[in-house]
């Protein structure tokens, strides 16, 4: 059983991530019993069989075709987006598009190289659960979920930029040149 972060707290979680070898023959992989997150390519290969199970979620690589994903995600209990390296920022825009363009409203999880200092950004673009990289301590992560008191620009968490959230003109304390 692994720990994930959700709503600012640590939760136990049974989802396991199936990561086939790069050269594996997807059609011949047998997904074991239990809650598994399978790669989208595997889902596409075996969707007829996997659809009959209610314990299969799908994880996306940054290369996957989102419109193909959008045609399928209605039946999934969970979508995960993989960060192969924390410096690969495609996952942020993929999450944004899934939430805002494709209107995905189910659980969206960050997996892979998920480190402390990117969690704030992940929560903003639309992830609601975070499966930390095994090297990261959950205690450290919990301390760094909201490093900033406000947000200048909108994103999935709050589409309004700061100038639509508050009346900044009244907040100014003699800043402007008179």
């Amino acid at each position: 059983m692994a720990e994930i972060l959700k709503n600012g707290q640590v939760h136990n979680d049974n989802w396991q991530v199936l990561r086939p070898e790069a050269d594996a023959e997807l059609a011949t992989i047998s997904v074991p019993a239990g809650q598994w997150l399978v790669p989208f390519a595997l889902w596409q290969t075996q969707s007829a069989a996997l659809k009959s199970r209610n314990d299969i979620g799908v994880w996306l690589s940054p290369e996957d075709d989102l419109s193909a994903v959008a045609a399928e995600f209605a039946g999934w209990p969970l979508v995960a987006i993989d960060f192969p390296k924390f410096t690969d920022g495609r996952g942020y825009s993929i999450a944004w598009r899934l939430r805002n363009h494709h209107k995905y409203s189910g659980e969206l999880r960050a997996i892979g190289n998920v480190l402390v200092d990117q969690l704030f950004f992940m929560l903003r673009v639309g992830f609601d659960t975070l499966a930390l990289d095994p090297k990261v301590s959950t205690e450290a992560a919990l301390k760094h979920l909201t490093p900033f008191p406000d947000t200048y620009q909108g994103s999935t968490d709050n589409p309004a930029p700061l100038f639509r959230q508050v009346d900044r003109a009244s907040a100014t304390q003699g800043g402007a040149r008179s």
Partner: protein
């Protein structure tokens, strides 16, 4: 200029606390070097040859006297008594110890400055025209929208890990002084016949290893859509830009690969979700930010002055300074003045702590306490009374900030190069210094006239060599430093990339090479014709012949053979 409100203060303070904590975790081994790297870069901190380099933002060129005094104090107390102004409205320190950086950032935050996103694969410090708000040819003051872009891009959750760095430049005048076409996004603000502000949007420009001029993706974007439209551009880039090779990762490569039509189609499709949404800039927000950029309390003055005219007529040095370093102003009786940071014996753009304090005093005395930093690595006093120019000249001269060479050959743009920078293939500062030594005759410099000489120590092109009338690029060949020369590049409305004249040169040859290029120009020029115009008219061949027609050619050829063989 813009002043932080409580929200801005809280954000910058929170950033300092975050970086202090990140530094502590890195020192404690909780963050690996690799994990810490993008975090420190997004706070302007590079690991350099001798010590970390800290790059501080001077957003869209605006800096106050009070801020400059704090920068001077930091140079004195935390560094070695000097700092360096870059081509992109940044100031760099070279010697601040790693564990002092959080305290330095805290000090900067107190005077509303920061190093946020001055490096890293994110949206960088937005740059603009150093004469914004005062230039007679200005159509739209870029500063309010530049500040709105600064805030929008700060800690943008989706765009902190782009394929590569992302630079935005904006200008709003008849003449482009911000080189917008060599930026990832370039914006030209103008007005339609009803007076509405529109933006012409260029995308995919950049220098570096593969210099490319941007292409127009939108001719007439209403100002209120700027943020949502740029969000669409950068999302397409974030998802589709190459990540397999850092040299092919800038948006320019994506735009070239797709073609501007296809790239525009993708951006428009992305924008369809965003247009008229919450990112649309409101009238109230533009008005709120614009209120910070109202004109200072100008005196009502005639546009002439007897003492000034008398000095102009009697003092050649003063007249030259006025001709080169004093710029037109939209308000009668006022001028903008460039304080040259190009002194013989110093690296271009370098300034000492004593000079910074003195310049702050000049700004207080002559320019409402405000300054600008220019793309050409100089400082500008933006609002000086014409009648005060003689006394300002005398004071600036004492401070060694009055070289009357702005826009001339020795107003060299130069990156820090191999003396400081880890990326450099070759030193650039000694080349600049040697050229400044060789050409120190003001009569000759003024006879040669307007000439941009730009030097970069490597392909990354921080010295913008591609757009110099004469460009010099340091290259590494078998662990030796060589210099490749281009001519005919230029910035402005007709931005062009220079062309390579031939095999590269040894450092010691560079002053001779420049001499020969200039001799050729003097021989071939028509009356009033600038160097770059002569190059355009006669082509490269006469220049090549003059440079390679003697021993330089033999040396260069030998070098070429050695490399080929």
């Amino acid at each position: 200029m813009y002043r932080y409100d409580p929200y801005d203060h809280a954000m910058v303070k929170a950033r300092v606390a975050q970086f202090r904590d990140q530094t502590n975790r890195w020192q404690a081994g909780e963050l690996s070097d690799e994990e810490f790297r993008p975090l420190r870069l997004q706070n302007g901190l590079y690991m350099q040859r001798h010590a970390p380099m800290l790059r501080i933002a001077v957003p869209y060129a605006m800096i106050s006297a009070a801020q400059l005094r704090v920068l001077a104090a930091i140079a004195r107390e935390e560094d070695k008594g000097y700092a360096h102004f870059t081509t992109r409205h940044n100031l760099q320190y070279n010697w601040i110890p790693m564990d002092r950086v959080p305290d330095v950032l805290e000090r900067l935050a107190d005077v509303e400055m920061h190093a946020i996103q001055t490096s890293g694969n994110c949206i960088r410090n937005v740059t603009s025209d150093q004469f914004a708000g005062i230039a007679p040819d200005e159509v739209v003051d870029t500063r309010p929208l530049a500040e709105i872009i600064r805030q929008w891009s700060t800690f943008h959750p989706e765009f902190a890990f782009l394929p590569r760095k992302f630079k935005i430049a904006v200008h709003g005048a008849e003449r482009d002084r911000a080189v917008v076409q060599v930026h990832d996004i370039g914006l030209h603000l103008y007005r339609d016949d009803k007076g509405e502000v529109l933006a012409r949007v260029w995308v995919g420009g950049g220098l570096g290893r593969t210099p490319i001029l941007g292409e127009v993706i939108n001719e007439a974007l209403p100002w209120r859509h700027l943020l949502s439209y740029m969000e669409a551009i950068i999302r397409v880039y974030n998802l589709e830009g190459r990540r397999d090779n850092p040299y092919k990762a800038r948006i320019k490569i994506l735009v070239k690969a797709l073609g501007i039509e296809e790239f525009r189609r993708k951006v428009d499709a992305e924008w369809a979700d965003l247009k008229d949404g919450p990112a649309t800039i409101t009238d109230a927000e533009l008005a709120r930010v614009s209120a910070y950029f109202t004109a200072p309390a100008y005196a009502s003055l005639p546009d002439t002055d007897a003492d000034y005219e008398a000095r102009l007529a009697s003092d050649k040095a003063f007249a030259r300074w006025v001709q080169q370093n004093v710029h037109a102003h939209r308000v009668p009786g006022y001028r903008a003045v460039t304080l040259s940071l190009k002194q013989k014996g110093f690296a271009p753009g370098d300034i000492t702590d004593v000079q910074m304090d003195a310049v702050a005093d000049l700004a207080d005395a002559y320019s409402f306490g405000e300054l600008r930093s220019s793309h050409e690595q100089n400082l500008v006093l933006s609002d000086v009374e014409l009648r005060k120019l003689p006394e300002l000249f005398d004071k600036a001269k004492e401070l060694k900030l009055a070289s009357s060479t702005v826009g001339l050959l020795t107003d060299i743009i130069c990156c820090p190069g191999g003396d400081f920078c880890d990326l450099a293939n070759a030193k650039s500062i000694p080349i600049a210094k040697a050229i400044m030594e060789r050409f120190d005759d003001l009569d000759y410099l003024h006879d040669i006239g307007e000439l941009d000489l730009n030097i970069s120590g490597c392909m990354n092109a921080c010295g913008h060599h591609h757009v110099g009338h004469i460009g010099v690029l340091g290259v590494d060949k078998n662990d030796e430093e060589w210099y490749q020369v281009t001519i005919g590049g230029r910035q402005g409305n007709d931005t062009r990339l220079g062309k390579v004249i031939g095999p590269s040169f040894a450092a010691a040859d560079m002053p001779d090479v420049v001499t020969k290029l200039l001799e050729t120009y003097v021989k071939l020029r028509e009356p009033e014709e600038r160097f770059v115009a002569t190059v355009v008219r006669v082509g490269l061949d006469p220049f090549k012949l003059s440079v390679y027609g003697d021993s330089a050619k033999n040396r260069a050829n030998k070098n070429k053979e050695a490399n080929n063989g």
